[in-house]
Structure formats: structure tokens, C-alpha cells
Symmetry: C2
Amino acid sequence: MPTPAETFVAVREHARKNALLATIDAAIGWDERTMMPLAAGAWRAEQAAELAAVVHRHRTDAAQGARLEELAASPLATAGTPAEQATIRLLKHDFDKQARLPTRLVEELARTTVEAQQVWSLAKAASDWPKLCPWLERVFALKREQAACQRPDLDPYDALLDDYEPGGRWRAIAPRFADLRSRIVPLVQACAGATRRPDDRILTERVYPVPAQQEFVRQVAARIGFDFERGRLDTTDHPFCTSLGPDDCRITTRWDERFLPTALFGVLHEAGHGLYDQGLLREWYGLPPGEAASLGIHESQSRLWENLVGRSRAFWEWCFPLARAAFPQALADADAARVHEALLVVKPSFIRVEADEVTYNLHVMLRFDLERAVVHGDLPVADLPTAWNERFAADFGLRPPDDAHGVLQDIHWSAGLIGYFPTYTLGNLYAAQLMAAAEARLGDLPAAFAAGEFQPLLDWLRREVHAVGRLLESEPLVERATGQTVSADWLARSLVDRYGPAYGL
Amino acid sequence: MPTPAETFVAVREHARKNALLATIDAAIGWDERTMMPLAAGAWRAEQAAELAAVVHRHRTDAAQGARLEELAASPLATAGTPAEQATIRLLKHDFDKQARLPTRLVEELARTTVEAQQVWSLAKAASDWPKLCPWLERVFALKREQAACQRPDLDPYDALLDDYEPGGRWRAIAPRFADLRSRIVPLVQACAGATRRPDDRILTERVYPVPAQQEFVRQVAARIGFDFERGRLDTTDHPFCTSLGPDDCRITTRWDERFLPTALFGVLHEAGHGLYDQGLLREWYGLPPGEAASLGIHESQSRLWENLVGRSRAFWEWCFPLARAAFPQALADADAARVHEALLVVKPSFIRVEADEVTYNLHVMLRFDLERAVVHGDLPVADLPTAWNERFAADFGLRPPDDAHGVLQDIHWSAGLIGYFPTYTLGNLYAAQLMAAAEARLGDLPAAFAAGEFQPLLDWLRREVHAVGRLLESEPLVERATGQTVSADWLARSLVDRYGPAYGL
């Protein structure tokens, strides 16, 4: 009989192989979105399905299940180090959840979502909802089946949410979101009615050549701490960050020579994700102590660098000279204050990924409410466009001109990412709360930013967030780091405080 | 009991999964050599080893072996379509060959060659033969063991050759190579002693900016038929071509702004491989009717486009205006004749991968003779450096200054690639013979090339070579396409005819 310590080594080894296979999947996924020739999509879909089956077989290997049973009953489960205890508890939780998914469902989900994403791309281009609708019906049905298999003990929406935000419960999230919405909608309306408004022509009426942007954003990402010896920056249509291994973090962006913020804030956002990945404990890579706590916490890191650092006046004190050197023509007559002001425009718009920081959360909360209604059986998929447009009109005072500017705009549902959207606004909540705590602990952060010093903030995040791994769920993690219960208050106040003055409110 | 037709479907499905997994391996291999951040190498090596284990388990699946036994005894094996018959025969051949390898030997070979390659890299850098020698002794011993296990019916060298050149036999190859050598050595000596020599300063003393090279070589590759909607071109240190699927062929090159041929002929070479891959039958992808016949045939396609098209005077009639538009400064005072002349330099040098078209084959034939002598027990590994240097002096009239410029220069033996080298020169033989036949069948090919018309040649290769897949072995394939028995005569004559005049011979 192996000792518990020996069994633990075998469990770690098995989990490491999981990570090896999962990061191979990440590698072909990254390639698909950055490099792959157009015609290769069908074969790649088959590769992904085959690899998903391999990963699933490995993940549900009965020998690992038996080892985890053994460990859960061993003294290591209660008297090991915190990392050992969490590893046993969480690997067993993941294993049991995975084992409850039939291989048939895994393969069907993989195949259906790959095809649905291809259909989505055509349907969006043609604003053709009826083309996508039956595919989304299949995806939602498969995801409901997944929820029922995996977490029969949970509300089905919470069961799906648990994949992205472990421990998250919609009944706790919904009231926070309602609070936030009740404070953002009036802010947006007040901005719309204000007589004073920020002048953003410096960003909307100039040309920022793409080669100069590429060099500029690399410098900015490196300065906030992204390690290019352990990562890359590439071009894609829908920016993302992915890790192909402990020393292989890939961020992506797109470029618009008429609008610098597309690439700059895209890169700050993805580099924020990348800093988290690069800050996870290498010696526990692929195991809970070296994994991200949740997508909400992941998003808190991206939003913090994008919005709370990158859109701050202090950041532009440091960044403006660099920007002027990169774009001598566009910024010849500008200064830090003028660029900063241009970043404070609040304007209702149809597309989430183009939304400003304030209206962004309205887009997210709309999706959270609609997808939950579908999962709960309260809204047929076929009725999504109508429900979407009505809610949009209520929150934004506008109606989408077509479904491409409405329900068809996001790939998430086609990709099977249901229960994923709320993590975006949870990330904003957590980011605002974490930033307030960092400012309280670290003293004058704006002075540091103005001097181009981001290491103190990064060090604090490394310690309070990154190094924690998955040992805590999102809320306990944020509460431990900030000493406060989670609430929407910090985010709501932060938005009002930063955007109100720009509109003379 | 399933019918033979049903079993055949199951066999195809299993082989298709092989191809899916093998092309995932190709994807991470491509990434490693073109994109991967420096620090990520250790994790990537673990990923590759894990995936290799997955592939090996799938490939040796006993159920597939049983299905192949069944099919081999069924009427389909003798009365099916030619593609079906070949699929049964060759998949069974591959399976049995794989199954005869003990797992212990597979693992030992994998481990030893990985370590030997690491030692090789250090030994080459330090020109330290004694460091590598014991490793090569182990590799050769293991490969002899592999030969005895896998093909006890064959001469051990032929058993190894069979992995790369199915059906190839050294007793048939050696006299052809001897003939070739007896005609190349005097040509090289005559060139060395000639009073007239081609002026290559247009290529060696000018600057060809890399961004312009990138655009230029893409245009050339597309013009000869490489389909960029089903492929890509990227940058790497050691150029290669790999296919990640039936519609996903990736070629690579390196760039030297002081020497345009590095990228141009590198790309013509890899695009030649790519045209073959892109010309394989899609509906049989990953199965013998849709697989390459051999490495020699693969190399014939790369060499044909690189040397017999790309170094021809007619090609430069078409290509020169394109080149001058790309490099207006470097080529301001040049014309097609001058560039073409500059490509005809013959010069003995120590390093195979830097050799000209004529001396290249001498490098290859030297390796073929030495590795065969070792496998046959006629030459101890420890004596390789002496044997190398003596033969080199005889063929090139030069002695390598050290082993880094001699026996240590190639990674192949350390990687266990024994019996691989001759496929390079076999490719040259086949290419010359195929090109002569194409010229005879298609009429005035130079006139077509001068007009930038490469489609007739490609169509002929598609039909005579690419679409044949692995249904014929190399020699029957070449003999069917050309109507002539395979010989070195076409290559020898082609070299004398093209290079002799440049030296006034």
C-alpha cells in the first residue's frame, strides 16, 4: 500500500499531465485565433474535439478518482499544509464534477459549439438571427444537460456559473448588480443631458500609425510588468489572453489607426490577465494552489490595469511623453490632461466590446439577466432578440438597428459560455474594491504611477491575489485582501467620482 | 460480426484519429520553432512527450490490429478498389512494424535520442567529438536493434531506410550514387580550376531589406501555386514545412538582408514540399492514398521548384521585374541574366546546409556511405571523424578545420535519423528525371516559366506524383511518371549542362 505522501505525489503527477494536455488545447486554440489559415477551420474543429476527448478520458481516469478518495480519507486532507489540503479538496471536487459528464455529452458540446461559432460568424455578418437561433437552442439545451449532470444539487444557472466563478450564486450577485444598475443608469442619463462634455477629438480625429502603436503598446505592457521572455503579443480579431504553460502567456489585440484606445486599452486589459497568469505559483502550476481563483478575479486584474491604472490622470503623466514620442504628429498639440479628458466620454452604444467603462456594466447585466431567464426556462431562445431590444431600450434609451448590433454581437453563447458574462462585472466590482484597498495600504499610488512606478501595486497584487491561487474563492479572497465585505459600492462610487466631474456633474 | 465494409470504415476512422493527433503534434512543433517564447521550452518538451505517449497508445491499439488482420483476410484486400487494397496492405504493414517494437526499445530510443540531441548541441558548439561519441554508439546500437526487431527479413540498413524510403534498397542506390559521384567530383574540380567564373557580386554585395523580401517571396510562392488560404509563411531558425491538417500547410524561412537567396530559395524549397502536401487527396487525408510516397519523393518536389525552376534562366525572365520592383536599389543596374549567372557559383564548403546545388550531393553521399558502414559493422563509431575527413578531402579537396565543420555538423544521427540522408540525393535524382519527363510531355516549359506560367507543370506533378499518394513506392512512381527506369543520369547531365557553361567548361 502506498503511503498518503506517495499517493499525493501520484495525484500531483496526474494533475500535471492534465495541465500538459489542457495547455496543448490552449496552444491549438491560440493558433486558431491568431495564425490559422482560413480554410483550416473544419480540421481544427475535429482536432479540438479529439483532444477534448483525450483530455476528458485523462481527467476522468478511475485510478485518479480512487487516489483522491484515498487521500480525502487520509490525515493529509485535514492535517497537511493548506496547499495540500486545498489540492486534495479541489481536485476531488473537479474530478467528481467531471466524472459526472458522459463522454458523449463532452464530445457533442465540443462539436456543437465549434460549429455554432462558425454559424455565428456568418449570422452576425448577415445580421441573420434565424440562422443562429436553432444552434443556440442546441447549445442551451446541452448546457442545461451539463448542469443537471454535473451539479444536480445546484440551481442550474449556478451550476454553470460554478465553472467560471466557483462558489458564485446568482441570488447573491443579482442584488449587487441591481444596486449598481440603479446608480449607473442615472449617471448615464445625467451625462447625456449635461451641457459640459469631455473633448475627445484628440483621440477620434487623428491618425496613429499601426507600426508605432505596436512598439508603443509593447513598451507600456512591459513597463507595467508583463514579461515578454515568458509571453508574446499578437494580432487577432477578438482579443484574449491565454497561457500555454507556466512560462508561455500569450496576449492579443487588434489595431485601429484612427482610434488608439482600441489597442492600448486592449493590451492593458490582456496584460492585466497576463500579469495574473505570470504571477501564479510556478511550483504548483496546473494544481489548485497555482490556479486562478475564478474568472471574476481574473477579470478584476485586467480591469484594474485597464481602467483604474490606464485611465487615471496619474498614468498619463508618465505615459504622455512616451505617447508623444510614438505619435509626434497626432499628439503635437496635446498634453496629458487633454488625452486623459478624452478618455472620459460616456456614450450609450450598441456594442459591448466598444462600450465605455460606465455603460459597459449595463451591457453585461443585460446578458446576465437574459441568459439566466433562458437557463431557468423563463425565456425561449427564440424570444431573445425581442427581450434584448426591450431591455436595451430601457437601460440605454436606444433600440439596436439590427440583431448584429444586438443579440448577435457576442460569440459567448455560441461557444457554450453561459454563466460567463457576470464575471465581467464581478471583475469590475472586485477591481474597484481591491484598488481602494491598495491605495489605502500603499500610500500615494498616483504619485507612483506619474513616475512610471507600477511595481509596488504589482507586488501587492502578487501577494494578495496572484499567490493565493485557488486556495480561496473569489469573495473570501477579496474580503481578505481588502478587509471589507464584497459590494458594488466601490465601483459605483469610483465611476461617479471619475466620470461625473468630466460632465460637470 | 461486422462486414468487411464496416470494418474498413472503423479502420479509416481510427487512422483519421491518428492523423488528428499527429497534426496536433505538428501544431505544437510548428509553434515551438516559430512562435514560442524562449522561456517556454521546458514545458513544451513535456507537452510533446505526453502527446507522443497519447499518439503511441492510439497507434498500437490492439483493436485496430485485430481489424486489420480481419481485413487482410477479407475479399476487400484483393478485390477492393486500388485505394482500399493499398490502405489495408499499408496500414497493416505499418501496424505490424510498430507492434514488433518492444515498448522498452521505444522508450529507450526516445530517451536516448532526446539526450543525445542535447549532448550534440553542446558537443557541436565546443567541437568536442569525444563528448558525443559514446552517445552515437548507443544510438547506432539501438537502431540496429530496432532494425532486427522490425524487419528481420531485411538487411539492417535497408530496414532503417524503409522508415523514410519505403522499398528503398542500398544495393540499388549505391551504384547510382557512385555514378553521380564519378561525374560530380570532376565537375567540381573543373570549376575550381576554371579561369572563367560566374560573377555573384549582385547577390553578395548588396542590401535586400527584409520587409521587401517578405512581400517578394510571398508573391513568388503564390505564383508557383502555394495556396495561402490553406497555408502560411513564417520565420524560423532552421526552415521546414509542416502540415497541421489537409488545409493547413505551414512553410517557414529565415532572412538575410545581405543574401537574398537564403530566403528566396528557402521558400521555393519549402513551398515545393508544401505544394506536394496541398496536392495530396483530401478525402484520403492521413490514409495511404492521401499520404506522401516517401521522403525522397517529398524532397524531389522541393528540389524541383528550388533548383530546376527557381535557378533556371527562364524563371528569372519572369521573376526579375518583380525582384527589381521589390529591391529597386540593389537591382538598379542588374538584369535577369546577371542575377541568373550569380546563382551558378560552385564552391566546395564544409557545411551541407550551406552547400551549392552541385556539391550538396557529395555531402549527402559521404554520409550515406559512412552511416551504412557503421550499421553494417564495418566502421566503428569512434572512427567516424577520421573516415569523414579522409572522404571529405577526396571529394572536396579540403580538410575540415575541426569536427564542428565535419562529423558534428548535423543533428540527424543524434536524433536517431539513420537511413534518412540518402533521401536528399534521391530527391535530387527523382526531381531531375521528373523534370526531364515534364519537359518532354509539356512542350516548351522555359517559355511558360518566362511568362510566369507554372500551372501546367504543377498540374502534371499533381497528376503524376501528388495524387498517387502512397499507392506506389518511389521507384515505380517515378518510372510510371517518366517512362524510364530510375537513374542518376538526368541529374548528372542537368548539373553539367547548367553549371559547366557558367565556368566556360
